[in-house]
Protein backbone atom coordinates (compact mmCIF):
# COMPACT_ATOMS: atom_id res chain seq x y z
CA UNK A 1 0.00 0.00 0.00
CA UNK A 2 2.81 2.34 0.99
CA UNK A 3 4.57 1.45 -2.26
CA UNK A 4 1.45 2.27 -4.29
CA UNK A 5 1.16 5.64 -2.60
CA UNK A 6 4.80 6.43 -3.34
CA UNK A 7 4.37 5.33 -6.94
CA UNK A 8 1.19 7.38 -7.32
CA UNK A 9 3.00 10.40 -5.94
CA UNK A 10 5.78 9.99 -8.50
CA UNK A 11 3.27 10.01 -11.36
CA UNK A 12 1.53 13.02 -9.85
CA UNK A 13 4.87 14.78 -9.43
CA UNK A 14 5.69 14.10 -13.08
CA UNK A 15 2.40 15.66 -14.20
CA UNK A 16 3.00 18.65 -11.93
CA UNK A 17 6.50 19.11 -13.32
CA UNK A 18 5.26 19.14 -16.91
CA UNK A 19 1.80 20.73 -16.62
CA UNK A 20 1.86 22.38 -13.18
CA UNK A 21 1.59 25.93 -14.51
CA UNK A 22 -1.40 25.18 -16.72
CA UNK A 23 -3.59 23.49 -14.11
CA UNK A 24 -6.24 25.79 -12.70
CA UNK A 25 -7.89 25.73 -9.32
CA UNK A 26 -11.23 24.95 -10.97
CA UNK A 27 -9.67 21.90 -12.60
CA UNK A 28 -8.39 20.79 -9.20
CA UNK A 29 -11.86 21.31 -7.74
CA UNK A 30 -13.24 19.06 -10.49
CA UNK A 31 -10.50 16.51 -9.82
CA UNK A 32 -11.50 16.58 -6.16
CA UNK A 33 -15.08 15.76 -7.19
CA UNK A 34 -13.79 12.85 -9.29
CA UNK A 35 -11.73 11.66 -6.33
CA UNK A 36 -14.80 11.83 -4.11
CA UNK A 37 -16.77 9.85 -6.68
CA UNK A 38 -14.05 7.21 -7.10
CA UNK A 39 -13.63 7.02 -3.32
CA UNK A 40 -17.28 6.13 -3.00
CA UNK A 41 -17.25 3.80 -6.03
CA UNK A 42 -13.90 2.06 -5.84
CA UNK A 43 -15.33 -0.95 -7.61
CA UNK A 44 -15.57 1.27 -10.72
CA UNK A 45 -11.79 1.00 -11.03
CA UNK A 46 -11.94 -2.78 -11.14
CA UNK A 47 -12.31 -2.86 -14.93
CA UNK A 48 -8.94 -1.14 -15.25
CA UNK A 49 -7.30 -4.32 -13.99
CA UNK A 50 -8.95 -6.51 -16.63
CA UNK A 51 -6.52 -7.25 -19.45
CA UNK A 52 -9.29 -8.46 -21.74
CA UNK A 53 -10.68 -4.96 -22.04
CA UNK A 54 -8.85 -3.03 -24.71
CA UNK A 55 -6.62 -0.15 -23.73
CA UNK A 56 -8.57 2.14 -26.03
CA UNK A 57 -11.82 1.30 -24.26
CA UNK A 58 -10.26 2.04 -20.89
CA UNK A 59 -8.84 5.33 -22.20
CA UNK A 60 -12.20 6.39 -23.61
CA UNK A 61 -13.94 5.56 -20.34
CA UNK A 62 -11.48 7.52 -18.25
CA UNK A 63 -11.32 10.40 -20.72
CA UNK A 64 -15.02 10.93 -20.14
CA UNK A 65 -14.23 11.79 -16.52
CA UNK A 66 -12.33 14.86 -17.67
CA UNK A 67 -14.44 15.98 -20.62
CA UNK A 68 -15.83 19.04 -18.79
CA UNK A 69 -12.40 20.32 -17.87
CA UNK A 70 -11.15 23.60 -19.34
CA UNK A 71 -7.68 22.07 -19.62
CA UNK A 72 -7.92 18.32 -19.65
CA UNK A 73 -4.53 17.70 -21.23
CA UNK A 74 -2.58 17.06 -18.00
CA UNK A 75 -5.14 14.62 -16.67
CA UNK A 76 -5.56 12.79 -19.97
CA UNK A 77 -1.77 12.51 -20.14
CA UNK A 78 -1.71 11.04 -16.64
CA UNK A 79 -4.47 8.53 -17.44
CA UNK A 80 -2.88 7.42 -20.71
CA UNK A 81 0.53 7.07 -19.08
CA UNK A 82 -0.88 4.92 -16.29
CA UNK A 83 -2.85 2.74 -18.69
CA UNK A 84 0.09 2.27 -21.02
CA UNK A 85 2.19 1.10 -18.11
CA UNK A 86 -0.60 -1.22 -16.91
CA UNK A 87 -1.08 0.82 -13.80
CA UNK A 88 -4.56 2.13 -14.46
CA UNK A 89 -5.65 1.08 -11.00
CA UNK A 90 -3.38 3.80 -9.58
CA UNK A 91 -5.54 6.55 -11.07
CA UNK A 92 -7.38 7.18 -7.79
CA UNK A 93 -4.15 7.49 -5.77
CA UNK A 94 -2.39 9.51 -8.47
CA UNK A 95 -5.24 12.03 -8.65
CA UNK A 96 -5.24 12.35 -4.86
CA UNK A 97 -1.51 12.94 -4.82
CA UNK A 98 -1.84 15.41 -7.70
CA UNK A 99 -4.37 17.43 -5.71
CA UNK A 100 -2.14 17.26 -2.61
CA UNK A 101 0.88 18.42 -4.64
CA UNK A 102 -1.14 21.23 -6.21
CA UNK A 103 -2.24 22.37 -2.76
CA UNK A 104 1.32 22.21 -1.45
CA UNK A 105 2.67 24.14 -4.41
CA UNK A 106 -0.01 26.83 -4.26
CA UNK A 107 -0.17 26.98 -0.43
CA UNK A 108 -3.74 25.81 -0.32
CA UNK A 109 -5.17 23.97 2.64
CA UNK A 110 -8.27 21.80 2.29
CA UNK A 111 -10.40 22.01 5.41
CA UNK A 112 -13.57 20.35 6.51
CA UNK A 113 -15.68 22.82 8.43
CA UNK A 114 -18.25 21.20 10.64
CA UNK A 115 -21.08 23.06 12.32
CA UNK A 116 -23.68 22.06 14.86
CA UNK A 117 -26.28 24.16 13.10
CA UNK A 118 -26.67 25.71 9.70
CA UNK A 119 -24.07 28.38 9.02
CA UNK A 120 -24.55 31.24 6.61
CA UNK A 121 -22.20 31.62 3.66
CA UNK A 122 -21.01 34.90 5.16
CA UNK A 123 -20.06 33.18 8.42
CA UNK A 124 -18.29 30.41 6.54
CA UNK A 125 -16.31 33.04 4.65
CA UNK A 126 -15.31 34.61 7.95
CA UNK A 127 -14.20 31.23 9.26
CA UNK A 128 -12.30 30.69 6.02
CA UNK A 129 -10.55 34.04 6.40
CA UNK A 130 -9.76 33.28 10.03
CA UNK A 131 -8.17 29.95 9.09
CA UNK A 132 -6.25 31.63 6.26
CA UNK A 133 -4.89 34.20 8.72
CA UNK A 134 -3.91 31.51 11.22
CA UNK A 135 -2.25 29.16 8.74
CA UNK A 136 -0.93 31.54 6.09
CA UNK A 137 -2.53 29.34 3.41
CA UNK A 138 -5.49 29.76 1.09
CA UNK A 139 -8.35 27.77 2.50
CA UNK A 140 -10.78 25.70 0.50
CA UNK A 141 -13.42 23.97 2.52
CA UNK A 142 -16.30 21.61 2.55
CA UNK A 143 -19.07 22.03 5.05
CA UNK A 144 -20.67 19.23 7.01
CA UNK A 145 -23.25 19.20 9.75
CA UNK A 146 -22.59 17.39 13.00
CA UNK A 147 -25.15 17.75 15.78
CA UNK A 148 -22.83 16.06 18.28
CA UNK A 149 -20.94 19.35 18.61
CA UNK A 150 -24.10 20.56 20.48
CA UNK A 151 -23.25 24.13 19.46
CA UNK A 152 -20.21 25.48 17.67
CA UNK A 153 -17.78 24.98 14.81
CA UNK A 154 -14.88 22.66 14.06
CA UNK A 155 -12.34 23.06 11.27
CA UNK A 156 -10.06 20.17 10.43
CA UNK A 157 -7.43 19.61 7.78
CA UNK A 158 -4.62 17.08 7.43
CA UNK A 159 -2.45 19.19 9.70
CA UNK A 160 -4.69 21.36 11.86
CA UNK A 161 -7.69 20.95 14.11
CA UNK A 162 -9.48 23.99 15.43
CA UNK A 163 -12.69 23.71 17.38
CA UNK A 164 -14.89 26.06 19.33
CA UNK A 165 -17.90 24.13 20.50
CA UNK A 166 -19.88 23.14 23.54
CA UNK A 167 -18.73 19.55 22.96
CA UNK A 168 -15.08 20.63 23.23
CA UNK A 169 -15.80 22.66 26.36
CA UNK A 170 -17.44 19.65 27.95
CA UNK A 171 -14.47 17.50 26.95
CA UNK A 172 -12.03 20.03 28.41
CA UNK A 173 -14.10 20.30 31.57
CA UNK A 174 -14.11 16.52 32.02
CA UNK A 175 -10.34 16.38 31.47
CA UNK A 176 -9.75 19.27 33.85
CA UNK A 177 -11.89 17.75 36.58
CA UNK A 178 -10.26 14.37 36.08
CA UNK A 179 -6.79 15.89 36.41
CA UNK A 180 -7.82 17.98 39.42
CA UNK A 181 -9.37 14.95 41.12
Amino acid sequence: MEYQIRLSRKYAQAVMNVFGQSISRDDIAHVQEIINFLGEHKKALFFLRLSRIDLAVKERALDKLFENFSNKKPFIALVHLLLQESRGHLIYGALRELVALYYETHKIMACEITGSHSISAESLDKVQQFLARQTGNDIIYTYTHDASLIAGIRAQSKTILWEHSIRKQLRDLALHMASEG
Binding site: S116, G152, I153, A174
Partner: protein, 164 residues
Protein backbone atom coordinates in the same frame (compact mmCIF):
# COMPACT_ATOMS: atom_id res chain seq x y z
CA UNK B 1 117.57 -68.13 93.38
CA UNK B 2 120.18 -66.43 91.17
CA UNK B 3 120.71 -62.74 91.65
CA UNK B 4 121.61 -62.20 87.95
CA UNK B 5 118.74 -64.15 86.79
CA UNK B 6 116.68 -62.09 89.06
CA UNK B 7 118.06 -58.79 87.67
CA UNK B 8 117.83 -59.98 84.10
CA UNK B 9 114.46 -61.34 84.78
CA UNK B 10 113.46 -58.03 86.35
CA UNK B 11 115.06 -56.16 83.46
CA UNK B 12 113.16 -58.15 80.86
CA UNK B 13 110.06 -57.99 82.88
CA UNK B 14 110.38 -54.23 83.02
CA UNK B 15 111.19 -54.26 79.29
CA UNK B 16 108.19 -56.38 78.60
CA UNK B 17 106.13 -54.14 80.75
CA UNK B 18 107.51 -51.12 78.88
CA UNK B 19 106.82 -52.68 75.49
CA UNK B 20 103.37 -53.71 76.66
CA UNK B 21 102.74 -50.22 78.01
CA UNK B 22 103.84 -48.62 74.77
CA UNK B 23 101.73 -51.05 72.82
CA UNK B 24 98.71 -50.42 74.95
CA UNK B 25 99.27 -46.70 74.81
CA UNK B 26 99.60 -46.93 71.06
CA UNK B 27 96.35 -48.87 70.87
CA UNK B 28 94.69 -46.44 73.24
CA UNK B 29 95.85 -43.45 71.25
CA UNK B 30 95.14 -45.19 67.95
CA UNK B 31 91.64 -46.53 68.56
CA UNK B 32 90.06 -45.29 71.79
CA UNK B 33 91.16 -41.68 72.12
CA UNK B 34 89.69 -40.46 68.77
CA UNK B 35 86.24 -41.90 69.58
CA UNK B 36 86.32 -40.34 72.98
CA UNK B 37 87.28 -36.98 71.47
CA UNK B 38 84.55 -37.29 68.94
CA UNK B 39 82.08 -38.11 71.69
CA UNK B 40 83.34 -35.21 73.75
CA UNK B 41 83.02 -32.90 70.76
CA UNK B 42 79.54 -34.26 70.06
CA UNK B 43 78.62 -33.80 73.69
CA UNK B 44 79.97 -30.28 73.60
CA UNK B 45 77.98 -29.57 70.46
CA UNK B 46 74.88 -31.01 72.10
CA UNK B 47 75.50 -28.86 75.11
CA UNK B 48 75.95 -25.81 72.86
CA UNK B 49 72.78 -26.64 70.94
CA UNK B 50 70.90 -27.21 74.16
CA UNK B 51 72.20 -23.90 75.44
CA UNK B 52 71.02 -22.24 72.27
CA UNK B 53 67.66 -24.00 72.55
CA UNK B 54 67.46 -22.92 76.14
CA UNK B 55 68.09 -19.34 75.09
CA UNK B 56 65.52 -19.71 72.29
CA UNK B 57 63.00 -21.23 74.71
CA UNK B 58 63.71 -18.45 77.11
CA UNK B 59 63.14 -15.84 74.45
CA UNK B 60 60.03 -17.69 73.26
CA UNK B 61 58.77 -17.80 76.81
CA UNK B 62 59.36 -14.07 77.05
CA UNK B 63 57.45 -13.54 73.84
CA UNK B 64 54.63 -15.81 74.95
CA UNK B 65 54.45 -13.97 78.25
CA UNK B 66 54.38 -10.68 76.41
CA UNK B 67 51.70 -12.02 74.05
CA UNK B 68 49.65 -13.22 77.01
CA UNK B 69 49.97 -9.79 78.53
CA UNK B 70 48.94 -8.17 75.26
CA UNK B 71 45.99 -10.48 74.91
CA UNK B 72 44.92 -9.74 78.44
CA UNK B 73 45.05 -6.05 77.64
CA UNK B 74 43.16 -6.68 74.42
CA UNK B 75 40.53 -8.72 76.25
CA UNK B 76 40.10 -5.87 78.68
CA UNK B 77 39.77 -3.41 75.83
CA UNK B 78 37.37 -5.67 73.95
CA UNK B 79 35.32 -6.18 77.06
CA UNK B 80 35.00 -2.46 77.44
CA UNK B 81 34.17 -2.07 73.73
CA UNK B 82 31.64 -4.89 73.98
CA UNK B 83 29.99 -3.22 76.91
CA UNK B 84 29.87 0.03 74.95
CA UNK B 85 28.43 -1.79 71.96
CA UNK B 86 25.85 -3.52 74.05
CA UNK B 87 24.82 -0.18 75.46
CA UNK B 88 24.72 1.33 71.96
CA UNK B 89 22.78 -1.65 70.62
CA UNK B 90 20.25 -1.37 73.39
CA UNK B 91 19.91 2.35 72.68
CA UNK B 92 19.58 1.67 68.94
CA UNK B 93 16.97 -1.00 69.63
CA UNK B 94 15.08 1.41 71.83
CA UNK B 95 15.22 4.13 69.13
CA UNK B 96 14.27 1.59 66.44
CA UNK B 97 11.32 0.45 68.48
CA UNK B 98 10.29 4.05 69.02
CA UNK B 99 10.62 4.83 65.30
CA UNK B 100 8.73 1.68 64.41
CA UNK B 101 5.89 2.73 66.66
CA UNK B 102 5.91 6.24 65.18
CA UNK B 103 6.00 4.82 61.64
CA UNK B 104 3.16 2.48 62.39
CA UNK B 105 1.14 5.34 63.74
CA UNK B 106 1.96 7.50 60.69
CA UNK B 107 1.14 4.59 58.38
CA UNK B 108 -2.18 4.05 60.07
CA UNK B 109 -2.98 7.75 59.76
CA UNK B 110 -1.85 7.72 56.10
CA UNK B 111 -3.98 4.67 55.38
CA UNK B 112 -6.98 6.40 56.90
CA UNK B 113 -6.33 9.51 54.75
CA UNK B 114 -5.82 7.38 51.66
CA UNK B 115 -9.00 5.47 52.32
CA UNK B 116 -10.80 8.77 52.54
CA UNK B 117 -9.13 9.93 49.28
CA UNK B 118 -10.00 6.69 47.52
CA UNK B 119 -13.59 6.98 48.67
CA UNK B 120 -13.65 10.57 47.43
CA UNK B 121 -11.96 9.58 44.16
CA UNK B 122 -14.45 6.77 43.59
CA UNK B 123 -17.24 9.19 44.26
CA UNK B 124 -15.73 11.73 41.87
CA UNK B 125 -15.19 9.08 39.20
CA UNK B 126 -18.83 8.28 39.31
CA UNK B 127 -20.07 11.76 40.05
CA UNK B 128 -18.05 13.73 37.45
CA UNK B 129 -19.16 11.73 34.39
CA UNK B 130 -22.72 11.86 35.68
CA UNK B 131 -22.49 15.60 36.17
CA UNK B 132 -20.93 16.05 32.72
CA UNK B 133 -23.59 13.83 31.21
CA UNK B 134 -26.35 15.81 32.88
CA UNK B 135 -24.72 19.03 31.77
CA UNK B 136 -24.47 17.71 28.23
CA UNK B 137 -28.14 16.76 28.18
CA UNK B 138 -29.06 20.12 29.57
CA UNK B 139 -26.89 22.00 27.04
CA UNK B 140 -28.08 19.85 24.16
CA UNK B 141 -31.62 20.70 25.16
CA UNK B 142 -30.71 24.37 25.48
CA UNK B 143 -29.17 24.50 21.99
CA UNK B 144 -31.67 22.12 20.41
CA UNK B 145 -33.42 24.83 18.46
CA UNK B 146 -31.80 26.48 15.48
CA UNK B 147 -32.04 29.90 17.05
CA UNK B 148 -29.71 29.50 20.03
CA UNK B 149 -27.27 27.26 18.18
CA UNK B 150 -27.02 29.70 15.29
CA UNK B 151 -26.60 32.60 17.71
CA UNK B 152 -23.81 30.73 19.44
CA UNK B 153 -22.09 30.08 16.12
CA UNK B 154 -22.58 33.70 15.08
CA UNK B 155 -20.94 34.79 18.34
CA UNK B 156 -18.01 32.45 17.70
CA UNK B 157 -17.66 33.70 14.14
CA UNK B 158 -17.80 37.34 15.25
CA UNK B 159 -15.24 36.53 17.92
CA UNK B 160 -12.78 35.01 15.48
CA UNK B 161 -13.52 37.58 12.79
CA UNK B 162 -12.30 40.25 15.18
CA UNK B 163 -9.08 38.30 15.40
CA UNK B 164 -9.50 37.41 19.06
Amino acid sequence: MNVNETLIGIFFRLLNFGVLFIGLRHLYLRYITPNAQAEIEADEKKVAIMAQQKDAYYQQEQLVNKEIENQREQITRLSKTLEAWQAAAQEAERIHQQEHEQLELALREKAEVQSAHIAQHMLERRAIPLAIEELEVSLASHFAGDKRGSEYIADVVDHIAKGQ
